[in-house]
Symmetry: C3
Subunit: 138 residues, 3 copies
């Protein structure tokens, strides 16, 4: 069994943004030399997400509106966590979007459906944060 590990760093200039990281994660897979196995990609921070969906700008705007409806940022005072912080909503938004994805590796590439793309979902940006890529297989 081979294993591979890499951290990807992001510094998103807005509070919230979705970043397509499929290319960077595929680069990790190539570097690993692993051809059959599983690839875990997870946010290392608890106010960010890694998820798989469509790379379509309208959908990302819909998601922003939808997440704000389900877990609104303001007023900051509605959350007990916001005692010296203002990011309680980011913890909740990331809960809906998910911490991680596990992707199958077949024949040296991601075993994706036609529209699957990996995204980093930032919900409390404007600082450096990390995603972990861990691959096991052979």
């Amino acid at each position: 069994m081979k294993s591979y590990r890499k951290e990807l760093w992001f510094s998103v200039p807005q509070r919230r943004q979705m970043v397509n990281i499929t290319g960077q994660v595929r680069e990790c897979l190539r570097e690993s030399g692993i051809r059959e196995g599983l690839c875990l990609v997870n946010a290392m921070h608890i106010t960010a997400s890694v998820f798989i969906n469509d790379d379509e700008g309208g959908l990302h705007q819909d998601m922003e509106v939808w997440l704000e409806k389900l877990a609104p940022e303001k007023p900051h005072s509605q959350y007990r966590h916001n005692n010296g912080e203002d990011n309680a909503d980011a913890h909740l938004k990331r809960t809906i979007m998910g911490r991680e994805v596990v992707v199958a590796i077949t024949d040296g590439d991601f075993d994706f459906g036609p529209w699957e793309q990996i995204f980093y979902g930032e919900f409390d940006g404007r600082r450096k944060k990390r995603v972990l890529v861990k691959i096991i297989g052979e």
Copy 2:
């Protein structure tokens, strides 16, 4: 390390439906011959889900009502993604239900609790779509 891969195809006649796929995924496990490891089951489409819950009809009706409340289908015009499409809600519903499950394999079978069953959650049906089963172990 051994690895196994299979696509399961579904053509759900309604727009939305939950299909118990535990038997079909267990058939894959038998075919793989793997007795210790991990089994990834994921929707290959971004408007469908694979999740684990109870095989109870009342609960599935509750989920339908609940998902419609959290991410309503209509009016289609409320979503920017629905520009020539009408399935933005399906992307959001699948986000809540999840893309994938990872199941432990112990002693040649799924290491399940008493009521765990694997479901395919279709949110934009009436066409052929796929689920990926990837198993690694030995």
Copy 3:
């Protein structure tokens, strides 16, 4: 490839509670002797969750309020599943929080970001329930 399996039992005195299980899962990892691989931690019951977030009491209170808003327990009669049962909301709350986490193992420890902690989320307690820890690697 090595594999390891253990069940952790919990009996939460309230209907709902979040329990930090990071220490117990780390104990499993030590027992396994595995230094590179993946660790799956999942609720074996469909009215409970395993998730990763911050060990901050204010946030946990926010989550309780938030989950009650998105999937209220009462009135019990609003759910079709509650026919001789009263836990439909627990199935929905666990859907939002997630069944499982997959954690990377690097150099004999969990490959965590600075604040990541593993929680058992109980949504229908007052009885004995289980979490599965399955580790594969070498």
